[in-house]
């Protein structure tokens, strides 16, 4: 049963989506200029970032749903599954310019009283080390099709990109959103590879021929955070693919 807060949240989502006008949607490119690095275990999708911005705009830190809820974004919808969950026209962020990778470790602390008891024979605090892969580089680019002004409004709420946002990585200097230029285009396939996660069923519907490397994973930002209930059999970003069917944009 929905709580009053959840009903209000649904209404807030619907009210925000009233502004969306697909006639205003254009291809755009988002460049994230970060201070020095981002922490990421999986590729970061532009639509997931915008969903975070929408959730923060409407709910702050109190996202009210614990089950999958479609978050309406000002982006073109390429395909919907049987539950009307959308595949948005948005790619993952890819690094441009000089870039390298790194592994960093953080140590998850425990209460002082427990420090002695929990040291292990394999090194002090060994059991509480968490290793995080980093991408070291300052510029990351993604493309999409949508309402540029609303996209900018949502991006303004996002101050860090990637994981460990509160502990250093992903510090954004600014976002740069470019549109209405001949070289700004959106495509599900770039240089023979998928630019975002695409469900197997969507790939068929959109006329994509992909290499048979599927996995179970997320593909739609509902809810804004990780939730296995939204997973499906997908072709992950970077999968070799052919045939671009941008005409299939709904």
């Amino acid at each position: 049963m929905l709580t009053l807060e959840q009903i209000a949240a649904h209404q807030a989502l619907a009210s925000f989506a009233v502004q969306y006008d697909p006639a205003q949607y254009v291809p755009f490119r988002v460049e994230a200029v970060v201070r020095d690095r981002i922490a990421e275990r999986d590729p970061i999708h532009l639509d997931a970032v915008l969903a975070w911005g929408l959730a923060w705009t409407l709910f702050g830190p109190y996202y009210p749903f614990t089950w999958p809820v479609v978050l309406p974004l000002p982006l073109a919808i390429l395909w919907e599954d049987w539950q009307q969950r959308p595949l948005y026209a948005a790619t993952v962020f890819r690094p441009v310019g000089p870039v390298t990778t790194d592994i960093e470790a953080i140590i998850r602390r425990e209460a002082p009283q427990r420090w002695v008891a929990q040291t292990s024979s394999s090194g002090r605090f060994m059991g509480r080390r968490a290793y995080i892969p980093m991408t070291v580089g300052t510029r990351y680019v993604a493309e999409g099709i949508g309402d540029v002004s609303l996209v900018c409004e949502l991006l303004a709420k996002v101050a860090r990109l990637g994981k460990l946002r509160h502990k250093g990585p992903g510090e954004l200097v600014c976002w740069r959103v470019t549109y209405d230029e001949p070289d700004v285009t959106f495509s599900l396939v770039r240089d023979g590879r998928l630019t975002r996660a695409v469900p197997v069923a969507a790939a068929r519907a959109l006329g994509l021929a992909c290499a048979a490397t599927t996995t179970r994973g997320g593909w739609t930002p509902s809810p804004a955070y990780w939730h296995p209930a939204t997973w499906a059999e997908i072709y992950p970003p970077g999968t070799p693919a052919e045939r671009i069917e941008t005409d299939a944009v709904a």
Binding site: V148, A156, K167, G168
Partner: protein
């Protein structure tokens, strides 16, 4: 071109952290077993260090001078020239010191473990050395592996190795940093094969001698020349933002809460939650109303709203405070660009000039030396904090309270504070217009006005939710 620049709508503050004593803050990623510990490092992509590269004639001469046993030639042929130089470097070390019973720490069954650990450290440290990288690695290894000077008969060959063009040396150094284990394995195989070329040695160890002679590999100079905008990757000393977050915000705010509420001893889970962020208990299920629980806890305890945390079954979602820390140094010039720290005199110093090495003894059954890197007193770090949009007034008050605390007194960061390491002073470089630490007064007033209720909720581990959540 229609481009819109969007700056995140955060309330951001700039601080400057100055080390009053050397900071001891080590790299948990390096899990070697040695008694030497490097300062915490992070990678940065910077403009290539200028340096000459060898001509084709110099490459051919090097290959003639350091031929490989024929058995290994197919393996060597697949290497790049910097990899070949790196393998040669290690092979020379083994040829000089690892024969027979071995020398220094290059003896006994652990000799290759010692070599791999020390070589990895030496290659990282050598990046910032003022001498040629391969010379620096050699010196550092000689020191850490307790090796005597090489015999004079090797002088000419060693000098030719150490005097390779600088650009090539940096490329080989990168190989030693990133592929230490495989380079040691290759050099070991090379050294063994070289020894088996001697029939006397082969007979002594009971193996068939290698009959084929050595072969000089071939490499092309065209594979070496870097592009005009070549970048290199450096491992720079860095202070973990997570450590700074704990030492400047989480821990001080916990002790402030203890003092302001005159708090009696609380359950360990409560201290864990406030002092370290808590943890989700194994097997615990997320409550169905986690958003409402989070709202109650975060509005009741503004410091939790600021810093976040985990109750038994759930994460309380994004905290309002985000921060990052950068070493003020020459190599970070582009990172610091546009910040108040960019023009500091320290921004002209190399990060590697700020490092120092300390050796102490510890007592167990017997005395043992241990060595660790520090950054020296006077080193500065730029700290940027962001409060996310919508941050409530009391939460801003908790932030101001932490700022007031760490601006008013020395703090420590990193390890070995009991020995005097890690004392820092923090200055406020820039803040939003109208911001003042007086915001902390409202937070303190809130705590005092609700003291009895807050203490009760801490002692019963409900945090104001009506159910035990820790």
């Amino acid at each position: 071109m229609p481009t819109i620049t969007v700056v995140p709508l955060t309330e951001h503050h700039d601080f400057l952290i100055t080390a009053l004593q050397p900071i001891s803050h080590h790299d948990p990623v390096l899990q070697d077993d040695s008694n030497r510990t490097l300062f915490n490092r992070t990678r940065r992509v910077v403009a290539a260090i200028p340096g000459a590269f060898p001509t084709q004639e110099q490459i051919d001469a090097f290959c003639q001078a350091w031929p490989v046993p024929a058995d290994l030639a197919p393996v060597i042929a697949d290497l790049t020239f910097p990899e070949y130089v790196a393998a040669t470097f290690v092979q020379v070390l083994l040829a000089l010191y690892a024969g027979g019973e071995g020398t220094g720490l290059l003896s006994g069954t652990d000799r290759y473990v010692h070599l791999t650990d020390r070589l990895c450290q030496a290659a990282v440290i050598a990046q910032g050395s003022r001498v040629r990288p391969l010379v620096a690695v050699w010196d550092l290894l000689s020191d850490s592996l307790l090796l005597p000077p090489p015999p004079s008969s090797w002088d000419a060959r060693l000098l030719s190795l150490w005097s390779l063009p600088l650009g090539l040396q940096y490329q080989s150094l990168r190989v030693l940093q990133e592929h230490t284990s495989s380079v040691v394995v290759l050099a070991r195989a090379w050294n063994e094969a070289r020894k088996l070329l001697s029939p006397a040695y082969a007979e002594k160890v009971g193996q068939a001698p290698l009959l084929e002679a050595t072969i000089a590999p071939r490499f092309s100079v065209t594979d070496l020349v870097p592009a005009a905008d070549e970048r290199v990757v450096l491992d720079l000393p860095t202070l973990s933002a997570n450590a700074v977050r704990n030492r400047l915000f989480r821990t001080p705010l916990w002790w402030h809460l203890v003092q302001t509420l005159n708090l009696p001893p609380v359950p360990v889970e409560v201290e864990d939650f406030f002092c370290a962020g808590g943890g989700i208990k194994a097997g615990a299920q997320e409550p169905g109303n986690v958003a409402e629980l989070a709202r109650q806890i975060r509005t009741t305890f503004p410091s939790v709203d600021l810093l976040g945390g985990n109750i038994a079954g759930a994460n309380l979602r994004d905290s309002y405070l985000q921060l990052s820390v950068h070493l003020v140094c020459r190599e970070n010039a582009d990172v610091l660009e546009g910040t108040p720290a960019a023009d500091l005199p320290e921004a002209k110093l190399s990060a590697f000039d700020l490092l120092d090495t300390v050796t102490l003894t510890r007592r167990g059954d017997d005395q043992m030396l241990f060595t660790f890197e520090t950054v020296c007193a006077g080193t500065k770090f730029y700290l940027r904090t962001d409060l996310l949009p919508g941050c409530p007034e009391l939460t801003r008050g908790a932030f101001a309270c932490a700022v007031r605390l760490f601006l008013s007194d020395w703090q420590t960061v990193g390890g070995q504070a009991a020995r005097g390491y890690g004392y820092i002073r923090v200055e406020h470089l820039a803040s939003p217009p109208g911001w003042t630490t007086d915001l902390a007064d409202a937070y303190e007033t809130y705590l005092r006005d609700h003291r009895d209720q807050l203490v009760a909720w801490l002692l019963d581990r409900t945090l104001g939710t009506g159910k035990v959540v820790l």
